[in-house]
Structure formats: structure tokens, C-alpha cells
Symmetry: C2
Amino acid sequence: MTAHDHSSIVLTRNQKLVLDVVSGAKLPQSAYDILDKLRGDGFKAPLQVYRALDKLLAHGLVHRLESLSAFIACQHPHGEGRAATVFMICDECGTVSEQTDTCISGDLRKLAKTDGFSVKQANIEVRGVCRKH
Amino acid sequence: MTAHDHSSIVLTRNQKLVLDVVSGAKLPQSAYDILDKLRGDGFKAPLQVYRALDKLLAHGLVHRLESLSAFIACQHPHGEGRAATVFMICDECGTVSEQTDTCISGDLRKLAKTDGFSVKQANIEVRGVCRKH
DNA sequence: CATATTGTGTAATAACATTACATCTGGCAG
DNA sequence: CTGCCAGATGTAATGTTATTACACAATATG
């Protein structure tokens, strides 16, 4: 079992609700977007969202896009190896596509090595224009 | 002349002050860190900092670290080609080292191509532990 | 000189995230 | 069964980061 074995994760009601909102959205959702969509389900404070997100992030079910301060559902089964995750963010329509790439993670490690730096985690966010625009 | 020809940029007083703070700091500085350090020079509002940063960012003299919401001075002469910039952030001491790499930018473009995505800009932030720790 | 562009000062507000503290729930050791 | 404990929850308050709005000043350019 890897650190990202989704099948064995038990989610609470709040965690499921948050995951559903993020999964169902076409665009990245901010914590406050999520909060607003869950008011009908009894959510009243941002912390309820952030706590659920913490767990979803820890298990790789959701990713945080740093440059947007927003969250998307994971589009890939992770835990399959040493692949880097790359997010391609379209500046026209805001959609985000998640890709994985082993070359990049290799290059990154090689680059880090020359510096004596030990890589734990990488966040790669690419801005540009998607196929449709 | 490239988009990042630093030598030809004329900075105003506020912009120089902000650049000096960022350049002089060992660690990434938040906008409010900078504001506090410039109160003695007459800075009173965050916007004064953000406006100066806007220009410094536009000219590549300063970089924003998305995962830290903080800013560092550029450590490389950019505009030298199609190299990707990689920030290595030490989780132990908070220091950031800026590297450039042409392999990664190539991989990134190749990866994007399979998606029909046209890359304008890439932000790569790596977390880990630096040589000293 | 007239005008356009860029920069500035200040206040208010918006957007994103965390701390603190009390309570609840479910599993499990005794 | 019972008492305890870890994780989850509810709520309020606060902290941190960033922007909008508006009036005015400085500088460059025709």
C-alpha cells in the first residue's frame, strides 16, 4: 500500500462534501467558493472547509494551486512512481489540466544534486493558453 | 535589448527602496515585512509596496514565491534564453536558491505540446532540505 | 504649453487562512 | 460495560495577504 492508496481512505461527511464540490467544479475552487456552496449543508465557517481540505490534500485527492490560492480534484492516480506533477493553467478560460512527467522529476533531482539539495516535493504551475483558445 | 535588460531600467525612489529591502534580506520577504522595514522611509500603506513590486516583478528584478506569498531578489541574469527558473526552498532554514535549467523548460514544452497547450510562463517551486541541513 | 502616462498618498475593503477553545464521537484497553 | 483517547466538529475571533477607489503629483512627449 502506498501513501496514496485512495481506495482505503475513509472520509467523513464534511470531507466527502468538500471533495464533491471540488470534483464537480470545472474550475479551481477557492476555500470560500467551497464554503458558499456548502452553506446549505450546514457549513458556516472557513475552518470547516480548510480542515476537510487538509485531509484531502494529505491523501492526494485534491491539489492546491499556489498561484491561484485554489483547489482542484486530483486527475491522476498518484503513487505510481517518481513522476512530477505539472499543472497547466489556461489564462483564457481558467481551466487546469494535470499532467505527470518523469523526465522533469529526473531533471529536477539532477539540478538539485549539483546544489546539495534534497528534493521532497515539487510544485510546477505553467501558465499559457489551452488547445481551445 | 531583451525584456529583461536590467541595465536600462530606471527605478523610482519607492521602487529602489523596495528592491533594496528584498535584495538585502537573507530570507523571502512578505509585502508586509517590506512595509514594516520601510516605515522609517515614509511608507504607510501596503499599496506602496505592491505597486513597487509590480514594476520590479515585471522587469524580472524580483520573483514572487507563490507557495510562500513572499518575494526574493532575482539571483540570475535572465533574458539569456529559454531556460526555466527553479526555486529550491529549504524547509529547515527557509533559504531559497534560484537555478535555471534548459532541460526542464524543454520537457515542459514537450509535455504541453501533447496537450495542445502553449506555455507562456512557468513557476517551479521545489521543497526540500538544503546542503547545510 | 498641453496632454498623456506613470507614479504617489491614503483610506477602506476584500480575499485568504489560522488560532483558540469548547464539545462531540467512535474505537478500544482494561 | 466503562473510562479514556484520538480525531473530528462548531463557532468566534483574529491574523495575513492583496485590491479597489479616488485625488493628486511628477515626468515625458508632441
